[in-house]
Amino acid sequence: MSEISGYIRPDGRVGIRNHVLVLPTVSCVNGVVRRIAEAVPGVASAVHPHGCGRGGPRDLEILFRILSGMIRHPNVGGVVLIGLGCEVSSIANLRPFIHKAEKPIEMFNVQTDGGSLETARKGIDAARRMLQDLQSQRRSPMTWEKVIVAMECGGSDALSGVTANVALGAISDWLVEKGATVIFGENTEMIGTAGALKRRAKNEQIAGQIERMIDRAEKLTRDVMGELAGLVISPGNMDGGISTIAEKSMGCVVKGGTTTIRQVVDYGEAPTERGLILQDGPGYDCDSMAGLAAGGAQLMFFSTGRGTPVGFPVMPVVKVASNTEVYQAMSDDIDVNAGVLTQGASLEALRDEMIQRMIRIINGEQTKAEINRMEVFSFMTVHPPF
């Protein structure tokens, strides 16, 4: 089986899921969103602690980019947007960012729609109606050129870089060869790899962007952590067999495979090129996931050595264990065992099995994180609230 299918969107993108997303513009109305999600379990919901109280241009840019990226996400067929009324990222202020979303969006403001309970009632009606409407939409064949796969690693162990991330790298190379796009971020985990990544840049300009991105991540790490910056490679890492920061980071960036780096995009920004893309995002898994999803990734592979259950509201997340012990200990949470690479299995065999799994997931098979509803929505800010 190699055919893939999805929901073709008016903007030309293709969803591999057809979610109704219930999204708060600001944390003040999270309770309303929770009520709607409890009454209509078929929706995806994405409460978050943001939307107001941060005024700097960088934080505003991120806020609007991530929220509009969620609304425009290809796996989202319709949106119920719940606002308060006086927040920074109000429905009125979001409108310019979403007017081209070209999908059904119903919007309610708690301050003008009758308070929380009445707004929840309206939201429940809208969500039910929208779910009903989306059911008539059918999948159509899609090409790999329309696929964006994100690569992530978290809760890593000493084997993550030599089993699971190597398997992710093999998938990345296969996808790029097929014409698909692969995107990964986690700039703090690129420290020490600028030389290796720059050599693979499409041109001098992109090489320069890679260098500046990693320099900033390194400087920020030193500024924020001071003397503790050395903990980016910790005594625990060293006991585990990792000797240098370059070794640790290579074990991270190997998940992007070996192809040419076509573009560097900002946190939450969607690529305009196909092929391998770097995103200038943070190492913290949950914030990283939101940036990659807002960038349009329909699917994520996520490697883990210690084990993490985390998923994302509108993007299926495929968990890949670096070792057999964690795969068995968290069998409800982890989809693939790359620990077989330490037990004599070949990388080619594992890769081919993962490709078949990926095709089934694109075509609708649920991942463990989807089945368990382990979704988390959290995104980066650069300044504290005021």
Partner: protein, 89 residues
């Protein structure tokens, strides 16, 4: 049963996927290669070739460190016999 994993064909170190004792045969993809010259802790690196002082330690096909002394094939490779290059390298 394999006890050492090699990530990239260019690498001069492999990873012991289980503890390898001194004198034990190193098995990579079902084939016995050479014997470990000392105990290699699980998940640590073993030299796949003789490495000269100041030679790059290659893993993932990329330099991850430089050696600070001669390292014989079969020796444990870690912070005692390598040095980190600058972060940016």
């Amino acid at each position: 049963m394999d006890n050492v994993l090699v990530v990239h064909p260019r690498d001069n170190v492999g990873i012991a996927v289980k503890a390898v004792a001194a004198g034990e045969a190193v098995v990579i993809q079902g084939q016995e290669w050479f014997r470990a010259l000392e105990d290699i802790p699980a998940n640590h690196k073993i030299a796949l070739a003789d490495i000269a002082p100041n030679e790059e330690i290659i893993k993932y096909g990329e330099p991850i460190a430089v050696s600070t002394q001669p390292i014989q094939k079969g020796r444990w490779v870690h912070t005692h016999n390598l040095a980190s290059q600058a972060w940016k390298k």
